[in-house]
């Protein structure tokens, strides 16, 4: 009944605009995910995933609640990754060729960049130059950075989806952060610099060996007992930051304080034109936006007004938190002039960004999400 009432509330023009927007997302996602998924499985699974992405676009457009539906999509994508990839590794544990199927982890890419420049060292084996080769990886990263920049961390990353989803579970934070937390906000950048240098010095994937929570289930452990214990301790710490931290604090602890790729993307994300901007004229200094920000990326700025830092990854959570409606998506800080009509509604910085981010996130997650749907169907029908 609630759903019916909600549908009645939607005006004709709003629904039409949402339909157009959903179609604009659906078409590229289905084309690309169909091609990716059809290598191994039926296109119907890709169709299901594309419809889910289009449904997300429709809901965002109808309700204006960007972060709520983004989080739903983002968390489902991350769960699909865990379900398909990690279970797949367990099933293929005695099959060496399964290495070929390992996707190149974007978090592993940034800390080993110097090692790659010096000795063409990559943390993961490649199935060939086209699939996860350095050239294709570099080109893909550049495309992602130009298209959505820091938005990667809130729309496409499979680590982020876990962190973000769990940060929304608790109603209220059990542990609240004070201003002191900003003293540690540069920790991912420091970790990135350290990992770049240590990985170069030792020619080892230092992050994968010591801090990746996903490596707990893999064969990266050292042969020496004492070293292995330290590895387990650090990886469990990272896992706690990924799972328990968000539940207790309602903040994305792993992404905010431990992820080197978040720092890498925060630096290079300046190349991307999309921003979240706080209108200083409307800001009353209530700091609701800072409290709602799961990335601890908004701080008390000059004059007691909200200051959005470079660590913002455009999740949109603060848009609804501002009582004055003073926070919005912009292009280099400027909003587009308002236009009427169905297409005019869609011509805004916000819609352009959501289209880019949602489409890119959905296409990227086509590497595992349609296969995860197939796994789930097989599991149910077994």
């Amino acid at each position: 009944m609630k759903a019916l009432a909600w549908l009645k509330e939607i005006s004709g023009e709003k629904a039409a605009a949402a339909g157009v927007f959903a179609a604009l997302v659906f078409i590229p996602v289905f084309i690309f995910s169909g091609r990716l998924a059809a290598r191994e499985i039926s296109r119907y699974y890709a169709l299901a995933w594309s419809l889910f992405a289009a449904g997300t676009a429709f809901a965002i457009s109808c309700t204006g609640r960007v972060s709520f539906y983004r989080r739903l999509f983002f968390s489902v994508s991350a769960l699909a990754f865990l379900f398909h990839f990690k279970l797949g590794l367990v099933n293929n544990i005695f099959w060496p060729a399964s290495f070929k199927a390992a996707p190149f982890c974007h978090i592993a890419m940034a800390p080993y960049f110097l090692g790659y420049l010096y000795q063409q060292y990559l943390a993961f084996m490649s199935g060939g130059w086209k699939l996860w080769g350095p050239l294709t990886l570099g080109a893909a990263w550049l495309f992602v950075t130009l298209a959505i920049g820091r938005g990667w961390c809130s729309w496409a990353c499979f680590y982020g989806g876990i962190d973000d989803g769990l940060s929304a579970v608790a109603r209220r934070p059990l542990i609240k952060f004070g201003g002191w937390v900003f003293k540690l906000r540069d920790l991912p950048a420091a970790l990135l610099v350290f990992l770049l240098l240590a990985s170069l010095a030792y020619m080892l994937p230092v992050y994968c060996l010591w801090l990746c929570p996903f490596k707990l289930t893999e064969g990266f452990m050292d042969g020496e007992t004492s070293v292995r214990r330290v590895q387990y301790a650090l990886m469990l710490f990272a896992l706690a930051a990924l799972v328990i931290g968000p539940l207790l604090t309602k903040k994305r602890i792993f992404c905010s304080f431990l992820c080197p790729f978040a720092a890498w993307q925060a630096f290079w994300g300046r190349l991307n034109p999309f921003r979240i901007t706080a209108d200083q004229g409307k800001c009353t200094g209530c700091m609701n936006c800072a409290r709602s920000c799961p990335m601890t990326a908004i701080k008390d700025g000059p004059g007691g007004k909200a200051a959005i830092t470079a660590y913002c990854n455009l999740c949109g959570q603060c848009l609804g938190a501002c009582p004055q409606g003073g926070i919005s998506y912009t292009v280099f800080g400027a909003a587009f002039p308002e236009a009427g009509g169905i297409l005019g509604r869609l011509f805004s910085a916000g819609y352009l960004f959501v289209f880019s981010a949602l489409t890119l996130g959905a296409v990227f997650s086509s590497l595992w999400a349609p296969a995860a749907i197939r796994d789930a169907v097989k599991l149910i029908l077994r």
Binding site: K183, D186, L187, A190, L191, V193, A198, L200, A201, V227
Partner: protein, 203 residues
């Protein structure tokens, strides 16, 4: 003597990248933490750091030749982890006491900047953290067993490896307050890493 200087210089040239890889996790975060926009200021820090390294190398040249004269041709097993531990402890202390926000720290008081920065001490502990090329030179000095020849040999080695390290200065004119904060945290992480490696070797 010039022949020995050249020999040390060539050893440094051929293995310089390994020296750079060993020194970078110390020097780069340190320059980030302490550097300023003024290139001249950073160059002075670098000179102090290099001076500390030079002192350590000359000390080792002396020790190696004395060991060689005494007929002892092996490095003590604790030398490498001990050097790493000393290095890590100094880095951790420098970083922990300088990270802003730690109100309990003692070194945040109005001390002379020289005592807070200690680049020469960091250079010295870097010098005593023996890396494989350094160990190769050390063994050659034990064989030579002559103090002056040892100084010439390690002088050459020091000059060549310094060439590899000096490009670190190039990036420093862009260092701002943000980079200082990131550098301090990096120095802390790298210090803890060296402490763990040192303790692992000793225990």
């Amino acid at each position: 003597m010039p022949a020995l200087f050249s020999e040390g210089f060539l050893l440094g040239l051929s293995t310089g990248f390994y020296c750079l890889a060993s020194c970078l996790p110390l020097l780069a975060p340190y320059m980030m933490a302490e550097g300023r926009v003024a290139w001249k200021f950073n160059f002075f820090i670098f000179l102090e750091f290099t001076g500390g390294r030079f002192a350590a190398y000359m000390l080792f040249a002396l020790l190696a030749t004395l060991a060689g004269k005494a007929g002892n041709f092996a490095l003590p097993h604790w030398a490498l982890p001990g050097g790493m531990l000393a290095c890590g402890l100094l880095m951790t202390a420098l970083a922990a006491f300088r990270v802003s926000g730690f109100s309990i720290c003692l070194l945040k008081q109005n001390l002379d900047p020289f005592f807070r920065r200690l680049p020469m001490a960091l250079g010295f502990v870097t010098g005593i953290s023996i890396c494989p090329p350094f160990a190769a030179g050390f063994l050659r000095l034990m064989e030579l067993a002559d103090v002056l020849k040892g100084f010439a040999y390690f002088g050459g080695f020091f000059s060549a490896t310094s060439l590899f390290i000096s490009p670190v200065l190039l990036g420093t004119p862009w260092i701002g307050q943000k980079a200082n904060e990131i550098g301090r945290l990096t120095l802390l992480l790298a210090g803890i890493w060296y402490v763990v490696l040192g303790l692992q070797g000793l225990l």
